[in-house]
């Protein structure tokens, strides 16, 4: 909530996921930075901006569901029905 430049510019450490993807924030994938060195280079990305996009995406997807139907049925629940 409080903005401090140094904190915003220090993302969590990198963890490799695949040859082409890494993570810094939990459950948030990012491209392997080496793939963005020749033609398109990455922008300066403070932490708040990454988190804003991740949360906005989740909100947007939830909104889209509500836009098309009043509720979403869980497949996991239906599979449990089948097993019974």
């Amino acid at each position: 909530m409080k903005y401090r430049y140094q904190e915003e510019m220090s993302p969590p450490p990198v963890q490799r996921v695949t040859d082409v993807a890494i993570t810094r924030f939990e459950h948030v994938f990012e491209v392997e930075p080496g793939l963005m060195t020749e033609h398109v280079t990455q922008q300066t990305f403070p932490n708040w901006d990454t988190l804003r996009l991740v949360r906005s995406r989740a909100d947007h997807l939830a909104w889209m569901h509500r836009h098309f139907a009043d509720k979403v049925i869980s497949g996991e629940e239906l599979l449990d029905d089948l097993d019974e």
């Binding site: 409080k2 401090r4 990012e30 922008q43 708040w48 906005s56 909100d59 909104w63």
Partner: protein, 396 residues
């Protein structure tokens, strides 16, 4: 094409192709200007495509500078763009239409292409150190703290409250409410020694050198007084201090910026503030663009509203509100007041559909156009900080 334009096109070409090549145009129906004009030349995607055309030698900045007036800087377009919303964090490369619009406006000014209203506005700001928000009445530096008359606030200290031009000179009830609430909670803060405009509006209208000069003054003033923390009640200032100043000052920027609305929500959560005077209003909340779309701040204002007894709150979710705007940002009311009026009428119309008597905002710059539009529909436009002060029983 002049060299600065070539350099500009080179700098922005990847971003421009990222929009041009996708051509999604999901920005279009959320853009407040596009919604009321339906003119695709003023759509966010056109702002990017023009850069491709500039790179191809088809356009010069003088051809398009006037088109770039038609933007409130609300940020709906760049958030709704799949290149931000779906892949921006993944690639650390997102759509930056707001930055692009500012950059084109800056390029135009640097090439001697001015919009008359903006030129006058920034000249007056430069002369008086504050925006000319009083419609003809000159602004005076020595009156920048007049809003605080009788509140006995100290000057300086580790934490200061920064008050934007609109609130300091026009909507003075907002900073008064904020100051009284913080006093009530026992939160220590002072006022700035010699506050100038944050410089954000100059940057938005393309007057970059002026914006930097004002920023440098404010930072120097803070440093000289030993300020470590700046409280901000205006979302526009919050953007300036957390996006423009870091760009200007880089690693040397060590001031903590605190958004008042977040601070107040925390004080309520901690029990240091307890709204108790019922406020009998049926309200909806206007997500200020620079809080919700551009910063992702939408929860705390709702938390505060829900803490106020007596209020009947008809909430509209923040994703729906991505396409709402007051029209008050980005210098639009200075250059095209009729367009601002249409956008705020559109916004107030959405509130009217809910059958509310009050539209609550948390952005002083939105409140003037929204209040104008509200009159026609008998909808009061009230600032969230003021509403909270009323419920806390503090005097105006």
């Amino acid at each position: 094409m002049p060299d600065p334009e070539k350099r500009f096109a080179e700098e922005w070409r990847n971003a421009a192709y990222n929009c041009f090549s996708s051509g999604h145009k999901f920005c279009r129906e959320v853009c407040p200007v596009m919604q009321v004009t339906r003119n695709e030349s003023w759509s966010p995607t056109a702002f990017h495509a023009n850069v491709v055309a500039m790179e191809k030698g088809e356009l010069e900045v003088a051809d398009v500078a006037a088109d770039y007036v038609n933007c409130t800087g609300c940020g709906a377009c760049e958030l709704r763009c799949p290149n931000s919303l779906f892949t921006g964090d993944f690639y650390r490369f997102r759509t930056r239409t707001v930055d692009l619009v500012k950059a084109v406006r800056g390029l135009a000014v640097s090439q001697g292409v001015h919009q008359p209203g903006w030129q006058r506005w920034n000249l007056l700001t430069d002369e008086r150190r504050h925006e000319p928000v009083l419609n003809g009445t000159p602004i005076e530096q020595e009156r920048v703290r007049d809003w605080a008359d009788g509140l006995d606030l100290p000057i300086g200290g580790e934490t200061i409250l920064f008050v934007d031009c609109e609130a300091a000179f026009y909507r003075t009830s907002v900073p008064r409410a904020v100051a009284r609430i913080l006093n009530l909670a026992g939160y220590k803060f002072g006022l700035m020694n010699e506050q100038w405009c944050c410089g954000g509006p100059a940057a938005e209208m393309g007057y970059e050198e002026q914006a930097r000069r004002f920023a440098q003054h404010n930072l120097d003033d803070w440093r000289a007084a030993g300020v470590r923390r700046v409280l901000v009640l205006d979302p526009h200032d919050y953007i300036t201090f957390t996006e423009d100043y870091p760009k200007y000052f880089g690693d040397a920027y060590d001031i903590e910026i605190v958004l008042v609305v977040e601070l107040l929500a925390e004080l309520i959560r901690e029990g240091r503030l307890t709204p108790h005077v019922p406020v009998e209003r049926t309200v909806t909340y206007h997500d200020p663009c620079r809080l919700s779309k551009r910063k992702g701040v939408w929860r705390e204002p709702r938390e505060i509203l829900r803490a106020i007894p007596g209020v009947t709150f008809h909430d509209v979710d923040r994703v729906t509100q991505w396409s709402y705007c007051s029209g008050g940002g980005g210098g639009l009311p200075v250059e095209k007041p009729e367009l601002t009026a249409k956008i705020s009428e559109h916004r107030v119309g959405k509130a009217a559909e809910l059958g509310v008597d009050t539209l609550v905002s948390a952005c002083p710059w939105s409140e003037r156009p929204l209040s104008e539009a509200g009159k026609a529909r008998s909808i009061d436009v009230v600032d969230l900080h003021e509403l909270l002060a009323e419920s806390l029983g503090v005097a105006p």
